[in-house]
Symmetry: C2
Amino acid sequence: MVDSSLVPPTAPATAPTSTATAASSRVGATPPVGVDGPVRPRASTALRPVPLDALRLDPAGLLGGWQRRNAAATLPHCIEQLDRSGALDNLRQSGDRERPHEGMWFSDSDVYKTLEAAAWQLVSQPDAPELVSFVEATSRLLASVQDGDGYLNSYFQQGQPERRWQDMRDGHELYCAGHLIQAAVAAGRAGVGDALVPVAVRVADMLVDRFGAAGIDAVCGHPEIETALVELFRFTGRRAYLDLAARFVDLRGNGLLGPGRFGSAYYLDHVPVRQATEFTGHAVRQVYLLAGVVDVATETGDASLLAAAERLWESAFGSKTYLTGAHGSRHRDEAVGDPYELPPDRAYAETCAAIGSFQWNWRMLLATGAVRYADEMERVLYNAIGGSTALDGRHFFYANPLHLRTDHNATEDAPSQRLPWYDCACCPPNLARLMASLQGYLATADDTGTQLHLYAAGTLHTPHATVRVVTEYPWHDRVDLTVESHSSRPWTLALRVPGWCAGATVRVDGADIQQRATDGYLRLNRDWRGTTRLTLTLPMPVQVLAAHPRVDAVRGCVALRRGPLVYCLEQADLPSGVVLEDVAIDPTGPVDTVVHGTTAPVPVTLQAHAVAHRGDDRDLYHDYPGTPVEPTPLRLTAVPYFLWGNRTPGPMRVWLPTVIEPTPRKEHQ
Amino acid sequence: MVDSSLVPPTAPATAPTSTATAASSRVGATPPVGVDGPVRPRASTALRPVPLDALRLDPAGLLGGWQRRNAAATLPHCIEQLDRSGALDNLRQSGDRERPHEGMWFSDSDVYKTLEAAAWQLVSQPDAPELVSFVEATSRLLASVQDGDGYLNSYFQQGQPERRWQDMRDGHELYCAGHLIQAAVAAGRAGVGDALVPVAVRVADMLVDRFGAAGIDAVCGHPEIETALVELFRFTGRRAYLDLAARFVDLRGNGLLGPGRFGSAYYLDHVPVRQATEFTGHAVRQVYLLAGVVDVATETGDASLLAAAERLWESAFGSKTYLTGAHGSRHRDEAVGDPYELPPDRAYAETCAAIGSFQWNWRMLLATGAVRYADEMERVLYNAIGGSTALDGRHFFYANPLHLRTDHNATEDAPSQRLPWYDCACCPPNLARLMASLQGYLATADDTGTQLHLYAAGTLHTPHATVRVVTEYPWHDRVDLTVESHSSRPWTLALRVPGWCAGATVRVDGADIQQRATDGYLRLNRDWRGTTRLTLTLPMPVQVLAAHPRVDAVRGCVALRRGPLVYCLEQADLPSGVVLEDVAIDPTGPVDTVVHGTTAPVPVTLQAHAVAHRGDDRDLYHDYPGTPVEPTPLRLTAVPYFLWGNRTPGPMRVWLPTVIEPTPRKEHQ
């Protein structure tokens, strides 16, 4: 049964509105009809996202290329793997108590994330029959296996129904329901898979009955349902979903889950979020929870909740974030560690946590307009997220270390190469859904004008203008923009100046203008009538970076960054016989930028003065400072971190020891 | 049924022999009767252990004090905890299928290790009625619950008997059997708990039937049975036990266990030990296996097996050992990491692995006579093992990190304080059995003379002499020895010169003698008739140590060591408001030794020049080298690592950052 109330109500006047006919018209020569992408706040926010079809990425650009690769390789690969892994069969044979469930007990979520990816992809690529048929068939499948009361979870339907909702801590039932809802919202916004929204609404209504204010007090061990319910509220306008999300946020932190194997903090159930001061626990759960917290805070106007998210953001980005933007330094419980505990070699840095951080920061950006959130989106996108997918789009890292050691034989769950799939396959379809909707996270627009946060070649339609962006960013520092305004009144084009960038300049129709950034944005307010050509230059000299001295794991090391891209040293670029860990860089010397061109396998490499020591025959411990080892000069070539492991598997490191030799020890007195 | 063949056969003539009446006579004014301690090779070995009753430690000395504390506190505490944890009840109600098994499925091993500890303790303290009654009652209990076929394991007896031997990988049945056998051998040698040896023999005979050459090919996921069977062979003379141990060693590494959750290497089943080149996998399992490997190699004269153990020793101590002698850098699988992966804060460094390393090195020392094994015994004993027990003898570390970070809230399974017990309680009773038999690991003796490996105040009886040792080692560098020889022929007294020591000297009856160490021992060959007084001086200036440059985690740091004792900096010794991680030491300055006396809480502290930086408000990452922060001079006080956490729980670190400032970066050209 399709409920007529599911047609989204009118959205605030400041942004375009989804319609049920969204899929019938796409971006191109004509302006967008306004298909909402992920995160479309109903309440007033500092920034308003543009519709998903308002921006078309140019596949010649880096982000557009990633999106094209996602459509051509990752998404079809995920669909294939759903069959191969048994995840789809689990649903197809749901209720068959004789058939054992295959894979993880939350394998349904792999299906849902892939569905979500396909729905988003169909916004920019409606002529993809295989995607349409996947979405339609899977939606019908889900409708057909949903129980009468709305329950839908192949693991508990195949298994013992009496076990439903008995293991809120580890059962992942609400987590799976959340991803189902997210998929349905995507399908609903994209206007595909008509069967899916009703399925999700039945699930959500069941949850409201069971867990709402009149129901039982419970939360899910793995956050996800919170943000999903808010998105469903946004799509349907039904307040009950928002209320339930808010209730889940408020119930958390009161020990409802019990300590479990890893303690309450692992589940973020150790302290209510409003009182929390430390970003901690299972990294993915922490960032997913915070995305939901910001969603709830945004829609309810709850300032104290937003303040909690800001406080935890400061904990996260002040002392618990890798240079690549990744989170999570512990393998044992996939968790964030103590402040400044950021070992490069043992970085867990799970891909899903990076995706969750991107989504959390996007919500913070919309809520507050503060540039620091866009800075973190850029950092994590170009490094931690970018590096998790192989160039072929069909191999993935689950953990994203910043140092793969020589003789890495104790591989545990951090393999030396990207793998085609994982037993716990959360990351690949998560990448697919992010990349398929990537254009939804780059720009915002409202009555006052248009704001560009992340730069990518493509064309953006806003109520004020069409903005064509031509750039080889992040390889080159120049972003050319052609603004065709169709507004008769002045408006403001805000161009983000990345936190790493000093000396940004902008030329308008060939003339330098003196414009200083305010709060991280160059804000150009003018009468834009007609066509205006701008050139934004974001100088990107190589930065030699050091870490806070409390980051013990990288003491005496530097890292190279150019623009948003963190670089790394790979064994593949070292002379034969030189062990990666024996190389030291001269941090005081020049670092050259070598441009190979955007069609080269590595468009820009960096070269620095370095030396190689032969250290293998030394004792493990020795008197300080020890006998100096004659160094061999070396020209070090560094490549972007996100490209590592694409030539040959092998050792890699982001943080490079410096050549500085310790001072000889004075004799005792 | 007591088998008369259980009376140990005659041992080689070079060492005293156990007898069934051993418990009736003890060390004191009269010479020992010769109660074998742990590890009593039948085959010829480079060194021969002295009987357990041949050495009595002086409780005023550090090691004797630890042993007294063990008897007074740790051992009674373990016995109490066996009741409190349900481990004894598991056995008492073995076979009751209605009662759920409490605690870990291998909780029987806690009982066995405590039994073993009590048996060893009764050798030096026969007048301990509560120990006698614990041993007697528990032995009778075990005899009463053993199945007719010899099977004895409360978990599988309470549970489904059909599950026996079905999970060789994770069931720990042979592991538990091994500890039962070790306890029985201890009881048999000590002459207590008469019921225990027959129980163990029935178990072992069942294992020979089931897993011997005529039985099935299998190994246990957790090594322990190997060394236990060799010890039972040594005690009973029954070759079948040695053959089965050798068979288990040879079957291992062929993938019989399957990969399990953590992969074959975790179980040391990834490669046959004879072909293994890397010390790896679960740290406790690796060292336990290697103890068994050396036992088998020793008794079978298998040179290739001993060579494998030596190769793995070089891997372990060349690139995978903490400065404290501990092993295991990974929490997730309690495992050894990659070469040079030795993070101080995330050191797992499990207590049981340290104990296992001590036992492995003792076997290597006996087999080869090479001093490096005694050096490692000393290092791990005084640091990793010593630090695992609180001063009260009733609180323990399971993990022994070398850095407890400020704001250590993400405690996981590495709490900031020693705990009275653990759900997985392997470590406390393991400490108890080691400490109760500690005097068995310090000296050796044979036809040629007596060898002292670890120095401790006490009295040693050997076939040649009575040697009284008076020393405050390791606090002071002087070891006084009084040798009362009762041999009419010249013999050699060999005194180990620790690897950390340069310039050791020895005086004989007040006269300096020119004696150089050969192969790490001062070997004094003379006619010792009458009484000779020696003074051995082992100079122990403070050593400022650095690590191999590939140990990334401690780059730019030094550690302080004096004699065998590694020192650390505790928050308790810092001025209020100074954060541990902000302190840097001047590694070129003098480090003073401050002697407080052996009755002081910390007998010797070290003082060094240091500074404190205020680093908390800096960005997590910044341009190199960054703005210098004005340092505040500080007098740093360091305490022995083994004493940390006894005053107040709080941050601690062994590796101290040095004050050396990076060079400012040259401008780009």
